[in-house]
């Protein structure tokens, strides 16, 4: 069952709570369609294309410049969509672990799985850059020096991160299966 729970101008938080024999708890942060940025990219590609046509008309030939411009415009748009993230998800699989997913506009999905026995704790972390501060949900993972970001690209407000973080805590800390001593 999908519920749209929280949103702001830039991001949308959704939760999919599947019950039954194999319950999954999925939390999505969806990037709202940034029309201004997409418009600028398409405008730039169009200007490049128009410039190429103008040069060709000027020279009177349909030459390499036109083909190269077509190619670079297409590459620009493709690379933009290729790197553009549509949404990032955290799938909490009880007793097994957490899967982190990044969905791109091109259809590509990048997944990574962290087993439950490796996760020490999920934490809301404050990050500081030279120009701003923002919150992120991170996982403290056994054996790793660096924090693992649950949402690598999106930087939503903390009120959108708290629900997914709280469910991580409940399912990973409170309901964490106790591993017998001889299996450790």
């Amino acid at each position: 069952m999908t519920k749209i729970q929280l949103a702001n101008l830039q991001y949308l938080y959704k939760r999919d709570d599947w019950e039954g024999p194999h319950p999954l708890d999925t939390h999505h942060i969806v990037i709202q369609w940034n029309s201004a940025r997409i418009f600028l990219v398409h405008l730039f590609a169009l200007l490049l294309f128009i410039n190429a046509i103008y040069l060709c008309l000027l020279n009177g030939t349909l030459g390499t410049i036109f083909l190269l411009s077509m190619l670079s415009s297409a590459c620009l748009v493709k690379s933009y969509y290729g790197t553009l993230i549509e949404k990032e998800s955290v799938v909490i699989i009880p007793s097994l672990g957490v899967q982190l997913k990044a969905h791109y506009w091109s259809g590509r999905v990048v997944r990574s799985f962290i087993p439950i026995d490796k996760i020490l704790k999920p934490v809301l972390n404050e990050n500081v850059t030279p120009f701003t501060c923002y919150w992120s949900l991170v996982l403290l993972v056994c054996g790793k020096k660096e924090l693992i970001l649950a949402f690598k690209v999106v930087k939503p407000p903390v009120k959108l991160l708290v629900p997914s973080g709280r469910h991580c805590v409940v399912l990973l800390i409170v309901e964490k299966p106790q591993i017998p001593a001889e299996d450790k």
Partner: protein
């Protein structure tokens, strides 16, 4: 806290932990005492190596290590407007009511005070050092100080000499400058249970071995004292470019068994070095205050010091022997100190220091300065520009231009990233504290559920 309002203070300086020094210690200890008084304190400094981001220190003191790399003598690269976005973000998210900058030599402090004034916050500045008037560096530094202090709400100096120096350098009205001396942690600096016994008298020197700390004077004084008094030995703690000169002096006069060089002494071990001596020697050529002699007196040592800057204001006359910064005069002062040493009671000296200097008292006095700063009237940009114009024929116009551009950039930032989009950080309260007024969601999330 009584009737005083709870302040939310942002301390800004390039000098903070993990660096050790007078300014760093002052900011840390003052912040801890202000936290105990119930105020909220956040510190902002530049990143130190890998130490970047948000850290929490004792008492819940939050520190922002902003990833701006230092470029000269631990100072952030001055960009004028580069730090405006991050300072604005921190001021809004922490709901700061007042900005307190430390040290005239800190570029981050100057920029933070400038941006804070542009955004309408009240600012307080503390000057920790004395500066000259004649050399090129001092002239430029004083001009920058004039710019920053032209519009400051209140200023604090650590001694009356420092106040005089700051007022002359910056042109600030004296009634805006408060004198609040530094203090010493007397709980940490206690005399030894038993004073070092025997015929030997130990003179301790702990300072950075640099020119302005009078290391060259030590090179002249130590051999002369060793010649006059066969039962005197020296312990020299500290490091710096002048260490080589002291090592050479030791070799030249064959004083290896009478002059012990310890090298850099971590602050946590300073007390153990002090209590191994009877007399503390300070040979600084300039000092606004000198916390080192406070620490020595708190450990029960008789102090011999150069009569420079604010040093004469620090200790009572029976705890210190002053001398001119001249080798002959210093030797005479050490001679006098040795003669009055049997009359010194270390425990009595420590008890007197406890009553004279206390960081909680410094915090209460600073709180009064904050109250007065917040009562200052709000002024528009045009009213504030007139103060900058008074800074000089050309400098005044330049300063006005800088402030106008800062104001325009601030307005642009308000359009690009409105204050409503910057999330306010809930206050982190320690579990022992009764006031748990923070957001339940946030607090409940970051606590360890498995320990309940």
């Amino acid at each position: 806290m009584g009737d005083s309002k709870r302040h939310r203070i942002l301390m800004v300086s390039d000098f903070f932990y993990p660096n050790f020094g007078g300014v760093e210690n002052h900011i840390y200890l003052l912040s801890q005492c202000l936290l105990k008084l119930g105020h909220k304190v956040v510190v902002m400094t530049h990143a130190y190596g890998n130490r970047s981001g948000v850290r929490y220190m004792t008492g819940g003191l939050k520190v922002y290590y902003v990833p701006w790399k230092p470029f000269l003598l631990q100072n952030t690269l001055p960009t004028f407007y580069g730090t405006l976005p991050i300072i604005r973000t921190i001021l809004i998210r922490e709901q700061i009511s007042l900005v307190h900058g430390h040290q005239a030599f800190s570029t981050l402090c100057h920029e933070a005070l400038m941006h804070a004034r542009t955004m309408g916050y009240k600012v307080v500045f503390t000057d920790h050092s004395l500066y000259g008037f004649a050399d090129v560096g001092s002239i430029h530094m004083n001009k920058v100080l004039q710019f920053t202090l032209a519009d400051v709400s209140q200023a604090i100096c650590v001694s009356h000499t420092s106040k005089e120096n700051t007022v002359l350098r910056s042109g600030l009205p004296p009634e805006k400058v408060y004198v609040i001396p530094n203090a010493v942690d007397t709980a940490m600096f206690k005399p030894a249970a038993e004073r070092p016994s025997g015929n030997e008298i130990t003179i301790v020197v702990i300072s950075r071995l640099v020119y302005r700390k009078g290391a060259d004077l030590l090179v002249e004084v130590i051999p002369e004292v060793c010649r006059m008094y066969p039962n005197v030995r020296f312990i020299v703690g500290g490091d710096g470019p002048k260490r080589v000169r002291l090592e050479e002096m030791r070799e030249k006069h064959s004083l290896q068994d009478r002059v012990e060089m310890l090298g850099a002494v971590p602050h946590a071990q300073v007390r153990s070095v002090l209590i191994s001596g009877h007399i503390f020697l300070n040979s600084s050529l300039t000092e606004a205050f000198c916390i080192a002699i406070l620490e020595a007196a708190s450990c029960g040592l008789l102090t011999v010091s150069t009569r420079v800057g604010g040093v004469p204001e620090v200790l009572p006359d029976d705890m210190i022997v002053l001398a001119e910064p001249d080798p002959t005069d210093m030797v005479q002062a050490i001679k006098k100190a040795i003669s009055i040493l049997p009359m010194i009671d270390p425990q009595d000296m420590h008890n007197r220091m406890k009553k004279l200097y206390d960081w909680h008292d410094v915090a209460k006095r600073t709180e009064i300065v904050y109250d007065r700063a917040l009562k200052c009237s709000n002024q528009s940009l045009l009213e504030r520009l007139s103060r900058y114009l008074a800074c000089g024929a050309w400098a005044g116009k330049l300063f006005c231009l800088v402030m106008i551009i800062d104001f325009l950039l601030w307005r642009l930032l308000q359009l690009w990233k409105p204050a409503e989009d910057i999330e306010v950080v809930p206050d982190i309260v320690l579990s022992l504290d009764e006031d748990r007024g923070m957001s339940q969601d946030f607090q409940a999330f970051n606590e360890d559920h498995s320990l309940r």
